[in-house]
Symmetry: C2
Subunit: 381 residues, 2 copies
């Protein structure tokens, strides 16, 4: 029996064939007008997705590198920052800040819990010296969306900047940088951008840039001023990841053809279909404010979570993601992120039904897939 592999993880995500093929573009030199055109075309495409008039910098790093860039370029030793930590990637903000000696007021949320703008407003009043608030658009470890728009409203009334990890969320959920008054926004190539990992994107508002001018934390590779100087010359300060940028340019053609609003709507529909399917067979969502990047599902009682994930991955070749530390085995995550369609979701839910059946979970067979299919069909265009 032939068994194809299905990538249903929230990064890396599936790559369109044309984007895979673009990686075979002959290697060209990065200090040439030809490459500058590709580079600036790609920068423009990312700016459109970030919905910003600010510069966008392309880094040769994973998203974590851009997170470090956000910290080291805006802060100085002994600055204080709020970190909204709702999961593994929220927690990463705190780790980076502490690695550089920044004082952290860490708001540790239960995984899947929201955090309101009113809560942030209270916290800001209690901590008037805060220089920056670090937040997450859509937390990959839990599939939870945060009220970035609301945080933006609060922080426009403050001197503090709002820094947003949009690594998984951008392209899948609304996040207009300028309209929402975000000060630092970053993302990475292996999510809705439909490209292999290796590129990160970061943008600074004018308000953030005034902190960049003052920042004294040590930096070199991620130095935003160097990067800006180079961008002014239509290049990057260090050797760029040429083939990935060529692939991003190709992927942007696909994204532009779809249109950003349609891409976000697409993600919303896939998310709704997945959640409806999951709940139709009595499974529970982890998140109280689900994001449209992935659906995190609690392991039902009587089922071993690790075995379920392993069965999905190894027997059915449906590569969903398990839960991360410290919640391993407690839930699983089905991504609906990037270059995926409705049939991918139905495949995932079919595999899930089969795996649950293998493990003796009691449910009405076919209902999960059918429920999702209905929602997809209603929205089929």
């Amino acid at each position: 029996m032939i068994k194809k592999h299905y990538l249903l993880s929230p990064g890396p995500t599936p790559i369109p064939e044309g984007v895979l093929a673009a990686a075979t573009h002959p290697m060209i030199h990065h200090r040439t007008p030809d490459f500058s055109r590709i580079f600036m075309d790609t920068v423009t495409g990312i700016k459109n997705i970030f919905q910003t008039k600010n510069d966008v910098f392309i880094l040769a790093s994973s998203g974590s590198g851009a997170m470090e860039a956000a910290v080291v370029n805006t802060l100085s030793p002994e600055d204080s920052a709020i970190v909204i930590n709702g999961g593994k990637f929220g927690s990463r903000w705190a780790k980076i800040c502490r690695a550089y000696g920044v004082s952290v007021r860490e708001i540790v949320l239960e995984w899947g819990e929201p955090y309101t703008k009113e809560q942030l407003s209270e916290e800001m009043k209690k901590n008037p010296d805060i220089k920056a608030v670090f937040s997450t658009l859509a937390e990959t470890s839990t599939g939870t969306a945060y009220d970035i728009r609301g945080y933006g409203e609060i922080l426009t009334r403050s001197d503090a900047i709002l820094v947003v990890d949009g690594i998984s969320g951008i392209g899948a959920t609304p996040c207009p940088m300028d309209k929402w008054n975000l000060d630092v926004l970053l993302s990475a190539s292996q999510k809705s951008f439909m490209v292999p990992p290796g590129l990160a994107y970061i943008s600074f508002s004018q308000k953030a840039w005034s902190l960049v001018e003052q920042s004294t934390l040590p930096k070199f590779y991620f130095d935003a001023k160097e990067t800006k100087n180079s961008l002014n010359k239509e290049t990057s300060p260090w050797t760029p990841a040429i083939s990935l940028i060529i692939q991003q340019q190709e992927a942007l053609k696909i994204i532009n053809h779809i249109g950003l609003d349609n891409l976000i709507t697409h993600h919303r529909i896939l998310g709704e279909a997945t959640r409806a399917g999951i709940q139709s067979i009595g499974l529970e969502l982890l998140s109280k404010r689900p994001a449209n990047i992935l659906t995190a599902v609690k392991i039902p009682s009587g089922i071993d979570g690790k075995t379920l994930v392993k069965t999905m991955q190894e027997k059915y070749k449906a590569y969903i993601a398990g839960a991360q530390d410290p919640h391993k085995g407690e839930f699983f995550r089905i991504a609906h992120l990037g270059y995926m369609d409705g049939f991918d979701i139905l495949t995932a839910l079919s595999a899930l039904e089969m795996a649950l059946e293998d493990m003796g979970y009691s449910f009405q067979k076919g209902v999960c897939v059918c429920t999702a299919k209905e929602i997809l069909k209603e929205n089929w265009e």
Copy 2:
């Protein structure tokens, strides 16, 4: 007239077709046994090329990122270091050290001048507090090789570590890490490793690792201890540049088929042929200790350097490199690095002859190409 493009620059270098094609490998997830096998296979391949028993870490960054990693992982604030600066990339060591507050004794050499182990020995005696010596195996801006073996001899008698930027040199010129007692060695994917840019490689000796244990410079993305913990689990701490690693695995098959010694010999022969060709028509080499990665050639009097490079690049589509600041226009660089063969060299020298003729340089036509061809033919196997 059809005009193909020829990439004759010292990074990026031409990519073998099989390695280009490997970029179309379907995207797989990085937290899987399948990817771990590719990852560890690649780590082993790089270790063999570094000729070390130490761990080798694969970073998603350009070579400059690995240079920063070398500094921030081994040093602490107010440490002192010697930087041997023979060009643009030697100078980068000093910039990184200063960005982190490390005190730098910078030895600024004329571009193309060697630096002997005796000179280093004297310098060490004068500066007994030195924690690290930063050096370059083969300086890309000048095509000069430094006596890394000799520096290793000097520093084994000292507590200071020897840090070597092998970005362009590794694979093209001998540099056995363990045998020569090098403490930190690093390189990048876009040179002899025959892969697009975006990956860097770094290894620490036991002596260097004891500094890593004590180092208090701030770091996060490049934190070697995190990277080592992850390597022990056959993975990387952040999302790796998956497609580039798959390409590196493919390129290593080619390199292993050639054999490291043969690869170095190949570079030596291409270098000798190029230099002989250049000198046969009265042109002068910039370097007094030429490396086999590229040949830097002084612009003869009466010829405008920038126009020569532009003619080579635009009219003949032979993408050689010009000189970098502050020596722009004074010389040009023909690379013989990575996936290039003897015919590439003859193409480069043919284009050079044509361009020189366009510009009115007086020489016996054909001699440059012929001289190089003779040397290539003698060594053809």
